[in-house]
């Protein structure tokens, strides 16, 4: 009963996050989904993952969303959608019905939390996963630094416009025509 209540509440929060017109409201509903999912995971016995999900999913990611929305602006895009709503709802409904039909019923033989520690599973069985996680984190940091660096918008004049500008300068009687400077790579970065 508790599981069903938590699951329904998480799905409701997800639907409200999708339907919210303001981005900030959507980010806060997403934080609600994360919090409810972490409670669900805790009730299932996955305590380490629940704590990480609560701190990262509901904490860090929400702060990142609020930060990004405050920079990019919370502009509503109106009622037009990428696909017609009836088409998207039909496709998603068919997919969910197909998934439920394929997966259920399940033989739930073991309802108790199984033994074995997460540390042993991580370091002994899934060592490659840990390595990939570290690489992912560094990749994310590097991409973030590259993307958030202050850049000038890249506006390059076409070659024809440059030659016309040079001709104009020559006809104006300047002795030394200043060459059109190409933006250096360091400047762009």
């Amino acid at each position: 009963m508790v599981y069903a209540g938590l699951g329904i509440a998480a799905v409701l929060c997800a639907i409200l996050a999708i339907r919210a017109t303001r981005l900030l409201s959507a980010a806060l509903w997403l934080a609600g989904v994360s919090a409810l999912v972490s409670i669900l995971l805790y009730e299932l016995g996955a305590r380490q993952v629940a704590v990480i999900e609560l701190s990262v999913g509901a904490g860090l990611v929400t702060v990142l969303f609020v930060f990004a929305i405050s920079i990019a602006g919370d502009d509503a895009l109106g009622e037009r959608t990428a696909l017609p709503r009836w088409l998207a709802a039909g496709a998603v409904g068919a997919l969910v019905i197909l998934l439920v039909g394929m997966a259920l019923p399940v033989d739930d033989a073991t309802a108790e939390a199984a033994g074995g520690s997460v540390q042993a599973a991580l370091w002994d069985q899934r060592a490659l996963d840990v390595l990939i996680q570290i690489v992912l984190i560094f990749t994310g940091v590097l991409c973030l630094l590259g993307l958030l660096a202050e850049t000038r918008p890249l506006v390059f004049a076409p070659p024809a416009a440059r030659s016309v500008a040079r001709q104009d300068a020559l006809s104006a009687g300047r002795e030394q025509v200043e060459p059109v400077r190409e933006p250096a790579l360091e400047e762009v970065r």
């Binding site: 999708i18 999912v37 990611v61 997966a103 259920l104 309802a111």
Partner: protein
């Protein structure tokens, strides 16, 4: 319904809600939100499957990998959205599509 079945239905519903948002939204930041919701569904399904197969520790370790990848995707997606807004002045995916067939 058993616990595992309730978990699986919740996970499928979360994936469906995220996919619906992914299909209808035109806002770049909302695309990241929809992706996050889909990943939450995958997370619940992973842990529930680990518990049902008597390998909860393995399910948790896989869920941790998913959380890390999901966070990196969110960070890069949001940074990309901020840069797109700076350069192009909009977050509308339709307005960003330059190639039209």
């Amino acid at each position: 319904m058993s616990t595992l079945e309730i978990m699986l239905v919740s996970a499928f519903a979360l994936v469906g809600a995220g996919l619906y948002g992914l299909l209808i939204t035109r806002n770049l930041i909302k695309v990241v939100i929809a992706l996050q919701i889909m990943v939450k569904g995958a997370l619940v399904a992973l842990v529930a499957a680990g518990q049902a197969s008597d390998q909860l520790a393995l399910g948790q370790s896989l869920a941790m990998t998913v959380i890390v990848a999901d966070t990196v995707v969110a960070v890069i997606g949001l940074a990309f959205a901020v840069q797109v807004k700076r350069v192009r002045g909009t977050l509308d995916l339709r307005a960003l599509a330059e190639l039209r067939g």
